[in-house]
Amino acid sequence: MLGIGITQLRRSTPEVSYKELMFEAAIKAYEDARVDPRKDVESFVCSSEDFWEGTSIFDEYVPDQIGGALKPVCTISADGMYGLATAYMQILTGLFDVVAVEAHSKASDIKNLDSIYDLSLDPIYTRPLGLNASFIAGLEMNKFLHSRAAPISSLRRVVAKNRGNALLNSLAMNGAKLDPYELSHSEPISYPLSSHDIAPVADGAAVAVLASEEAARNFRDDPVWIAGVGWSSDSPTLETREWSEATYAKLAARQAYKMARIQNPMQDIQVAEIDDTYSYKELQHAEAIGLAGHSKAHELLEHGDFDRDGTLPVNPSGGSLGMGNTLEMNGLVRVIELALQLRGEAGAHQIHGVQTGVAQSWRGLPTTSGAVIVLSNK
């Protein structure tokens, strides 16, 4: 990873259009990578979904503000981590040396987010039930807690940890000092899910510049390396789902760890940035990608292992709970936060001396899809 550019995450950005937001992130990334996108960047991979944007074939609207006009540009309908994986593959083919990746969120432009989520539900089997899509998270959370015999209080601890971490992250929107006990009285959404369990949406844009080994050395002495990538999808159909396990994350991690030659993640991984769009997801994902034994994540959490000063800090950035949920940009935020850690540029929320870390994303409701990236300094 040669260059990183990310704007601050905010509840709304009314003074700029999505193009202007993307341009800001792009300028930052190219400065950081010390490249001229018109000369040095050979390909551009964007991540977006039409209905978040309110525009069909959103690919039409991406090239100019990221320096891709009249160049190889494509759009992946998935999150920024998937976009990064595609860019990575492009470089491995030998076709290109330098590829830029982009993702953004203009969630504040969407008037009613719930009606967009409703549109993602199966039109024949699920929509007619007339339920708010968060019921899916409620079902899964219930099954997860039950299968792990985990107390719901552990999830409040996740929220308090991540929002507390976010106070030290200048990019974050939702930092707060919380007493987990206070959270037990928050507004119920879809039992057992409460409002505090859900990461609030945010606006932002991010661009990353990837380079092949040979090319990277022309620009920087200290790039962070992509050691492994993986992604996977489980059943989109609710009726054929395994509700307590994040199998997609397990399979994605297996692929990424194999590439990165990581055999014991609990030992080899020093910092993790994983998806916590819903509080229980952090624990579910931590187990799925091998950062905790099965049913053990909540114990490690309670023990303080996942805290910033613990043995394996998870989401020192604050995660989505602390930073904000940037829809398809989340995946790229996780990788960028991880890269900043490995570079030693994470500022007040820096975890010292980390050499290898893992970033994981989930595409959000109602999907069972996600990606995993392993980054390393070596």
Binding site: S17, D64, Q65
Partner: protein, 167 residues
């Protein structure tokens, strides 16, 4: 090996199969509403339209003057900071005579969409309509001028220009 005797799968339906309920179907009305932030460039463009003016931007690096305005030059990849007021005249770059509306219903009186290159730009234009002209009289290269909506009725929209008319 694919041989010609393989019939491709797929069951084709007729419209009346659905109308006469020979197949089960379900209907859904999406509710997807957005309020897009127009931002700096387009925001200014629209508010200038409300004042009866067309504004573009100029890249100091390559000198291109463009409309619709944008805060970046896509060719130089540099920030653009210069605003340039433009005349509300130009020429027709291309046009069509459309007998169908957005929802594909037939129009009795055709509308004439066109790309109008605005004077004073580097061959830059925007999509709009032509009016007060017979379809058979429209030519590529024809000179046109904006016909504005009455000032008090303007909203800060591309439709503050009713259409372009022959100059």
């Amino acid at each position: 090996m694919r041989t010609e005797s393989v019939t491709p799968p797929g069951v084709s339906l007729k419209e009346e199969d659905i109308e006469k309920n020979r197949v089960l179907s379900t209907v859904y009305y999406p509710k997807a509403e957005y309020a897009w932030a127009t931002g700096i460039a387009v925001g200014r463009f629209l508010s200038e339209l409300k004042s009866g003016r067309i504004i573009g931007t100029k890249c100091s690096h390559c000198g291109r003057i463009v409309v619709p305005p944008r805060m970046f030059c896509e060719w130089c990849f540099k920030r653009v900071g210069k605003w340039v007021y433009l005349p509300d005249t130009g020429k027709v770059n291309t046009f069509s005579v459309s007998y169908i509306s957005t929802d594909t219903t037939r129009l009795k009186t055709p509308i004439i969409p066109a790309v109008i290159e605005i004077d004073g730009t580097s061959n830059a234009g925007f999509l709009h309509l032509l009016g007060e002209v017979k379809p058979e009289e429209v030519r590529i290269g024809m000179r046109v001028k904006a016909a504005w909506v009455e000032p008090r009725l303007r909203k800060g929209s591309i439709t503050d220009i009713k259409y372009f008319v022959p100059e």
